[in-house]
Every structure is written in structure tokens, then in C-alpha cells.
């Protein structure tokens, strides 16, 4: 068993889990943070994207043990009370989702992209979201949402 201590959305957490536990399973099954989704078993869809020490990662392809001591932010940590994060607001405003399954990952990937590159071009948005797949919307409205978020966060 592995003793894991980490900060999730600002709260210190400590759990003892099997060594093989993935970060996504720690978040969903042990901490009840089910906003982070699992959409594939090949590390390709990005639904499970969270921030670990400020960088976007696929939490299905990282052991909980590798996140020991880290600071993790999930989709649940984005809004401030009732106030949505500008990226969340933009996805709502631009209808950048249908079923919403990919959306938590899209939002986390977008937030990370805008941190590195606050005013991305269309081309840079395509590349920045390459690790995230959406089966529903087509990507047009997602790209619109990224641009709106970039505008509001200026």
C-alpha cells in the first residue's frame, strides 16, 4: 500500500491506496471528485485532464503515488463559489458542449493552454487541445469558447 499526501483544490488530503492506483481513481473513488472523467484506456481522449503542479496531465496515465506531495487542481476547483471560471463561462456561453463528457478535460486543457499562451491563434488552439477528443460537438464551438475565455481573461 502507498501512503499518499497531496493538496487537491486547496485541501490537504491523505489516503492509503494500492500501489497500482491511478491518480484518476484516487480522485474519483477515494476523494469523490467525479467531475474528472475516464473516456478511454489508451491515454488518448484527455477527459481525465487535471493540473498537477500547474501543468495539464492525463490523470489516467499517472499513478497516485507519482502525485505524492503534489498540488492538484480538478474541474471542481475551478469555480469560485457560484462564480464560474472564465473558461467554464465561455464553454457555457458558446455552446461548446453537447453531452458534456469531454468538457471537464477540455476546460482543464484550455486553462493550461491559456496560462502558457494567453492569446493563442486558431492554429495554436488546435495544437493546444490535441490531447482532448470530443465525440459530439465538432470543435468549432470549442475553439470559439477558448477565444472568448482568452478575451475575458485579458
Amino acid at each position: 500500500m502507498a501512503k499518499i499526501e497531496l493538496t487537491v483544490n486547496g485541501t490537504r488530503e491523505a489516503r492509503e491506496v494500492e500501489d497500482r492506483t491511478l491518480l484518476v481513481d484516487l480522485l474519483r473513488d477515494h476523494l469523490g471528485l467525479t467531475g474528472t472523467h475516464i473516456g478511454c484506456d489508451t491515454s488518448q481522449c484527455g477527459c481525465c485532464t487535471v493540473h498537477v503542479d500547474g501543468r495539464a496531465v492525463k490523470s489516467c496515465t499517472m499513478l497516485a503515488a507519482q502525485a505524492n506531495g503534489a498540488t492538484v487542481v480538478t474541474i471542481e476547483g475551478m469555480a469560485k463559489g457560484d462564480q464560474l471560471h472564465p473558461v467554464q463561462q465561455a464553454f457555457t456561453d458558446c455552446h461548446a458542449l453537447q453531452c458534456g463528457f469531454c468538457t471537464p478535460g477540455m476546460i482543464m486543457a484550455t486553462a493550461a493552454l491559456l496560462k502558457d499562451n494567453p492569446q493563442p491563434t486558431d492554429e495554436e488552439i488546435y495544437h493546444g487541445l490535441e490531447g482532448n477528443l470530443c465525440r459530439c460537438t465538432g470543435y468549432i464551438n470549442i475553439v470559439k469558447a477558448v477565444k472568448q475565455a482568452a478575451e475575458t481573461m485579458k
Binding site: G46, V57, M62, A109
Partner: protein, 265 residues
């Protein structure tokens, strides 16, 4: 995933000792290849020895006419490093093309080179630039290191510590990525080195290889257009449901042409 024990190595020596006492253990750097493999049930190591972030395996520095990059350096850090961009811009560019942002935030140089996936990007740079792979036991020339599909000169428990890239005069990389995974369907790295022009091809064959016909043609004159009429033999190339070997042969020629255009521009 099967059960395994997770061991966090405290140092390079600790990692080597752990590998020695646990013959069925596997080293883990970024885990971006190993964890998907374990999730598919394709390997069953007794232990994972985490070497990610070990200080001996970290760092990027230019020493004289060599760029030295620690094995645990993430693709993102190579792609965004001012030192790499200045010393070998083609290498930073190559790193920026690997997979997607999340993969680049975890995956490492050492993991990629040790894995030697026939469609991985780094092996093309390592071979074309005539780099040296420095392990905890010895130095291995790129030429001797890559031994075909997923095979390398690494011995049981041997750990890549860093890779030393001699600075080229010019270099360029172009790849045609698989649209879903980002891996190279064909990638061509051309380096004008002090000992001549070297051209390495990844993605197309069972392992990275030097394209000797292109090297011979470029030795006669390094200018745009030289590769335009060069045919690539398809016989030894990979064929799968993504592409026929003839298609890959054509891609090699096209990527070679594009890389050359960039190199001479």
C-alpha cells in the same frame, strides 16, 4: 492492471540497487508509455522503480560544442528550453511535435530513447546528430544503441543518465504525424555535422535507420531539390492498417524534401 509494488528511487545509485535486487522490476520515468502498456495487461513487472525527477537525470546544459540533456527531462522542457532552442532548434521543434501537451508534460527523453518505438521522434534526432547515450555504466554511440523495433543496447537494469548531442552546423526535422496518436508515420531528421551530412528516418521502418542514398546525394551538394528525384525502396518498410509500405516510402521522400528545404532556407 496487475498488482505491482511502487518504489520511489532516492538517487541514481538507489535506483540501480533496487533494479539489481528486483530482477522483474521495471524502471519508470514519465510513465507515458509504461503505464498504458500495463493498463493493457501487456507487461507484469513485480515493481516499478520511479526514477522521474532524479537530480542526476535532470538538467539541460551546453558544454563546449555539446548539448547535454538529462534523461528525465520532459518533452515540454526540451521544447521550451531557451538553451535547446539556441543550440539545436530542430531538437526543440521535434520535442514540440511529440503527442499532445499532456503527453509532453510527463513523457521524458530517456523514456522515449530507451523504449525505441519505431514511430518515436527522438531516435531520429539521436541517430542523425550522432549523439552519445550516457548510462550509469558506460557511453553508447547512437549507431550501436538502436537495434530495431523496441530493441536497444541497454542491459538488464542499465539506466540512461543523459544524452550528449554534438552541436550540428544546421539541422532540420519534418514528420508526418499519425492523425490520432501523433506518432510519426514518417519523420526525417537531417543534420549537417562536422563529419558530413547525416539523415535519419523514423516511423517508416522497423526501427530508426540512416537513409544512406540521401546522405550520398547531399554529400555532393547541400541544396534544395537534391532529394526531389530520390526514390526510396519500399521493401523493408512497415506495412499496417495505417499505411502501405509504398505510401510510407513516398512519405519519407516528401518529409526529406521538406526538411531539406528548411535546412537550406
Amino acid at each position: 492492471m496487475f498488482q505491482f509494488s511502487y518504489l520511489k528511487a532516492k538517487s541514481l545509485a538507489d535506483a540501480a540497487a533496487l533494479a539489481k535486487t528486483n530482477p522483474d522490476a521495471k524502471l519508470m520515468s514519465g510513465g507515458m508509455t509504461l503505464l498504458p502498456t500495463l493498463k493493457q495487461g501487456l507487461a507484469q513487472p513485480s515493481h516499478l522503480i520511479d526514477i522521474g525527477g532524479l537530480s542526476e537525470l535532470s538538467g539541460i546544459e551546453v558544454k563546449g560544442d555539446t548539448l547535454i540533456i538529462g534523461a528525465a527531462t520532459r518533452h515540454y522542457d526540451v521544447a521550451s528550453s531557451a538553451a535547446v532552442k539556441k543550440a539545436i532548434p530542430a531538437l526543440a521543434y521535434l520535442a514540440s511535435l511529440i503527442g499532445d501537451p499532456q503527453v509532453r508534460n510527463r513523457g521524458t527523453l530517456g523514456g522515449s530513447v530507451a523504449n525505441n518505438d519505431p514511430a518515436a521522434d527522438y531516435p531520429a534526432a539521436v541517430l542523425a546528430l550522432n549523439a552519445k547515450i550516457i548510462t550509469n555504466r558506460r557511453e553508447i554511440a547512437a549507431e550501436d544503441f538502436f537495434q530495431g523495433m523496441f530493441a536497444t543496447a541497454l542491459e538488464e537494469g542499465e539506466i540512461i543518465v543523459k544524452i550528449a548531442f554534438p552541436l550540428p552546423k544546421h539541422a532540420a526535422y519534418e514528420k508526418f504525424p499519425h492523425p490520432a496518436s501523433g506518432y510519426a508515420m514518417a519523420g526525417v531528421f537531417i543534420a549537417e555535422t562536422t563529419s558530413g551530412v547525416r539523415v535519419a528516418v523514423t516511423g517508416a521502418g522497423p526501427g530508426v535507420f540512416r537513409w544512406s542514398d540521401a546522405e550520398a546525394a547531399l554529400a555532393k551538394g547541400l541544396k534544395a531539390g537534391v532529394l526531389d528525384k530520390l526514390k526510396v525502396a519500399a521493401d523493408d518498410l512497415n506495412e499496417d492498417f495505417h499505411a502501405t509500405r509504398e505510401y510510407r516510402a513516398n512519405l519519407v521522400q516528401v518529409m526529406g524534401k521538406r526538411a531539406l528545404q528548411k535546412l537550406v532556407a
